[in-house]
Symmetry: D2
Amino acid sequence: MGEQGMDGRMGFVSDHMPILRTIARRFSEERPFAGLTIAVRIHVEPKTGVLIRALVGGGARVVAMGNKGTTDDLLVVYLRNLGIEVFGSRADDDMTIASNLRRLVAERPDLVLDNGAEMIELLVGDQQSPLGATEETTSGAITLRGSLRGRVPFPVLVINDSPLKAIVENKHGVGQSVVESIRSATNLLLHRRRMVVFGYGWCGRGIAQYGRAAGADVVVIEPDSIKALEAVIDGYAVSTMEEEASRGDLFVTATGHAHVISVDDMERMKVNAVLANAGHFDNEIDVVGLRKVAVPSDRGTDITRYQFASGGSIDVIAEGRMVNLAVTGSRGNSIEIMDLGFSLQALCLERLAIDPARCSVGDQPVPADIDDWVARAMVAELR
Amino acid sequence: MGEQGMDGRMGFVSDHMPILRTIARRFSEERPFAGLTIAVRIHVEPKTGVLIRALVGGGARVVAMGNKGTTDDLLVVYLRNLGIEVFGSRADDDMTIASNLRRLVAERPDLVLDNGAEMIELLVGDQQSPLGATEETTSGAITLRGSLRGRVPFPVLVINDSPLKAIVENKHGVGQSVVESIRSATNLLLHRRRMVVFGYGWCGRGIAQYGRAAGADVVVIEPDSIKALEAVIDGYAVSTMEEEASRGDLFVTATGHAHVISVDDMERMKVNAVLANAGHFDNEIDVVGLRKVAVPSDRGTDITRYQFASGGSIDVIAEGRMVNLAVTGSRGNSIEIMDLGFSLQALCLERLAIDPARCSVGDQPVPADIDDWVARAMVAELR
Amino acid sequence: MGEQGMDGRMGFVSDHMPILRTIARRFSEERPFAGLTIAVRIHVEPKTGVLIRALVGGGARVVAMGNKGTTDDLLVVYLRNLGIEVFGSRADDDMTIASNLRRLVAERPDLVLDNGAEMIELLVGDQQSPLGATEETTSGAITLRGSLRGRVPFPVLVINDSPLKAIVENKHGVGQSVVESIRSATNLLLHRRRMVVFGYGWCGRGIAQYGRAAGADVVVIEPDSIKALEAVIDGYAVSTMEEEASRGDLFVTATGHAHVISVDDMERMKVNAVLANAGHFDNEIDVVGLRKVAVPSDRGTDITRYQFASGGSIDVIAEGRMVNLAVTGSRGNSIEIMDLGFSLQALCLERLAIDPARCSVGDQPVPADIDDWVARAMVAELR
Amino acid sequence: MGEQGMDGRMGFVSDHMPILRTIARRFSEERPFAGLTIAVRIHVEPKTGVLIRALVGGGARVVAMGNKGTTDDLLVVYLRNLGIEVFGSRADDDMTIASNLRRLVAERPDLVLDNGAEMIELLVGDQQSPLGATEETTSGAITLRGSLRGRVPFPVLVINDSPLKAIVENKHGVGQSVVESIRSATNLLLHRRRMVVFGYGWCGRGIAQYGRAAGADVVVIEPDSIKALEAVIDGYAVSTMEEEASRGDLFVTATGHAHVISVDDMERMKVNAVLANAGHFDNEIDVVGLRKVAVPSDRGTDITRYQFASGGSIDVIAEGRMVNLAVTGSRGNSIEIMDLGFSLQALCLERLAIDPARCSVGDQPVPADIDDWVARAMVAELR
């Protein structure tokens, strides 16, 4: 796909991000970022391209870089042609990425859009104090509330804590794409399969709902009694790993905890049981432990068989990495879901630029009026 | 139905209240209420009969009375034969009920199970200080946090605030029975009818879900932007009264607020539009105002037609009273839902009897360990 | 309810029968039945009142009678006041009904609307040959194809064979009302209950669908392999009575065959298992056999407990009669469903009146153009 | 992926084709094809590899070739290593394919598995009369009933006419994969999108069901009044192209007819409307006509924008080819669905081999006992 192709792709994506487009139109009139430098660290793909264009249109000088292994090199060219400084390429190794991060910090940005709190850590270490930052992820929030607690002298608005994202992105976005990714990786029907879902948080609720809609017989494992009661009255079987290890056809983790499925559990599973992880980290299924006792072999793109000495064997999708991103051909969140997330980003950066006094120092949720505005805008689009 | 019939009905109900039966069995061994008098104010019907038997089996002397117009006189006889003092009958008027309430308070109860906080008000006025009380309803909780705020010298555990009740009773219990009651009162299909639901709290979520399952085209009206976003991503149309008044076929209120549907709204509705209220109070639809401008006539059991001078006319179910209770033949909450609610009641009364020090003075939620125990028990029954 | 009350009820019902109203309007202009006598045998309740008015408005002299035990006496008065001859009352015994049938036949009707083919049998015996007849039920159709085969010298259009009725009335009308009636009779939640449905014909498909929507864990028992495959790919468990007798919580028959649930099966059931029949005849559950080996007792309105000598016991709803009609408070099919059914009736009677040559002698389906017209009209109402 | 990789893929696929494996086991004992040559024309991918191995294990000499552009070259190597003669490669052009077809016919096969009736046409032209043939597709069946009518001197069992395939493959297999493919190609949410489905046959029913489960607001366009009534009572809006052209967000055709969406219709559509075809032929959307009046451009993989001179523009997925096959990354039917289809194939070929007298000459459906056996086997797997 050449440059014209990228125009087309950007056009399609932009056409389906009406909320961010509305914001971009206002930014281009009001120029809230005039004279400011924004350092952006984010997956560099068409949806983020639309965000970056909105910031630039609002007067910002943007310096940007991608995450490991996800940078769309054609988009880098496209953005550079628009005069945006973009560092890095898909092939970057850890050292190059670390060096690029330092280059971004060296720009002494006024505003920071961070993804994992690594830039914020560097800024704190460097005793810089920009107007403020936004943090996209939960893992970044954990760092902010952990090792960085009380040490960040500027406001950080944590996008992922917005209730909008829990409902729209986690329940419906993740729930639906996890089920679709499992179907895509395996080419199997889920009809009447015993699908064991670990965790009945927002993601688990979505996985259960879309799993049932795909025909599966869903079983939920959830230690919290109130959530377990919600699962059972929502119509799902509720059970324990003890009982399900030898009964389930498909196991999906969405708990945020490590080793939810242990090697012992896996050794008890039926031959041909399929395992997938929907959580952010790749340790919910103990694949590291599994590799010590079972022999892996290829069972098709994205599927690894693990053969136990005992004779049993199971199939793990994408080595236990987040299934809705890791499976070949997956494209991550839907365009409209990123329209919501990036609209929160754009408005939070604007707030930090023009009215930093309304924010306190340290990590904090998205301001309620911004949540409210974006929620109303999305309702108006979908209703 | 004679006395033997009541044995059969009580047996059927008791057989489907396994959690309360388990508690009753323990009560009969441990006798936590030995020597205590419990004043109980509650709908007197078979499900409450099972609760009262459990308290008596636990050693209590129980004095009980019913609510207006719902007392099952055959059950009164049945309970009296078991040696329980029950005041009142279905025919009681307001004065008799007030007098019965004073009789209960005059018993100087050690524990109180209240329903609307009226007994608690009398106890406070009378400067009695029992070991504690439970309050079943939200409206009682409002009194406790309003006119009684800071004035109650004993603990009051508010059953209705338990998250278990929100999920199980409000979403699924009320949601399902509201839809069934509307079907029963009208004998109409809901398929493809534009069903406008006011409020997307727990009740509204349930009404929308079961309305859609019954074939309706559900539209949600919800001023809170986050809840409105949840409604729209759950797949419902979200709209405004402005737009829907003249489009809806069926309107159902579940907001907890007065005059959600105004007389003006009703005058704009289509001929034959049907209205029902699922909220606790009968003022969500402004029936009082309606009567001033429209002529009522009978359109069948539970349905009143209101004819406007302008020529329009609408049909209101059960005069805007809570539809899942007021419609002829409705039986209120399912047996299992009361098993959950009354198990919370029984364990809260036990807590107040044997360990009042673990409770503080004034209104408070159900202790977390009791919520947890009952949730686990219900999961074990349903899973 | 007085006469004015009946006006209101008739008004409500008529307002929700738009297809039949459209037909009635045309009839009143075209008078297709001018000079003809129509003998009508049907449940006499408000919905049929609307049909009878349409026929009278079309010029017919109508003589009508009800079925056993279902006649609405207030409606009889109402219809007589309109000048329609109606025989019988709710209290009629079999002899009175037989005598009324003979009175109808003695009127030498030109057209006959029959319900069970009893009038047709009498007409054949009496060697009368009216212009034609319609037959509402499947059981009437069985007689027509059995003992009356080749003996009826006039056309009989069998309404129940219309594909419209299979889809609308059997799947959705019966399916939904069966589930609601079971809920109403028991006051139990169906959530997570193992609900065993016998038969995956149109009724069974509907019962399974609405049972699942009510939260049940639906299991289908179906001997036909193609239908069983449809059930399983529709997401239901498929099993055998052998396996399910001791596992099911609720059993619902919808097969059209006798003794689908035998006494042996019932003896193997769990204590408190609930049984209901949705089929036309009350012998799908072998209640006659059951009474020989188990002791009945009352467990509430519409529920009979049967206690086995072995200690087990089960609860049967409405003694195995058609649950969606027999349960107290049930009102039979929804108004819109009868709008469809009675529109077929009205147009078939018109066809027989004005164009009998387009029909052949003996039983036959509803003419395709009439099915088509009514289907389009209902789509236009619901779409 | 090397040879070992193909072992793994074939293993995964074979493990999820239990019905065909059961048949293969019996074939290897009974050797029904001993001494016979079977010519197989089919998509050459792992699922068909399992079928071919079963035939070879049953004693057949198999000569096979693929369809245009779908041959998996690694599988060709794999099969040749098993001693199977496979002609062709992914890169074959029409001439090579025609030549390969003639090579297969030149082998004078005893049995033929055809895909589009092209081999059967050649055999008839060549005056060969093998024991019999199976035909996989509807389009082949159309040829058999059209130009070949009365001219085929041997039995042809038409697999696609089996009711099993209508229910399992068309409704659930196609329905689900069409919705997933649209989601995959566009990366858009379907929630609250107006999704206009053309045709309410088995495929359309499935597309509507899975579209609604994916959150879409489904509208059905269906000229047949009975099917339209089924759609509306199933809960979908029913409308016309007239009304929907300017309202729909997404249009999906599944009718089997050409030009269901005309150029005129497309010119009236909203900007950014998305179009996809689920029917076998790529002419349900008139893309040929569209190209004459609108300018195409790339909008991302699998999406082409068409810009009208009038200013409007629409996005067509995969140029109107069958969306669940044509979208990048799609894998066609699920493994279990091909287990069903290929089990029918294997048993039909066996019937032709060992009991050809039970079949008549010319095209005919799958024998009822084979349908029954396979349906029971699949129910046993899924129940």
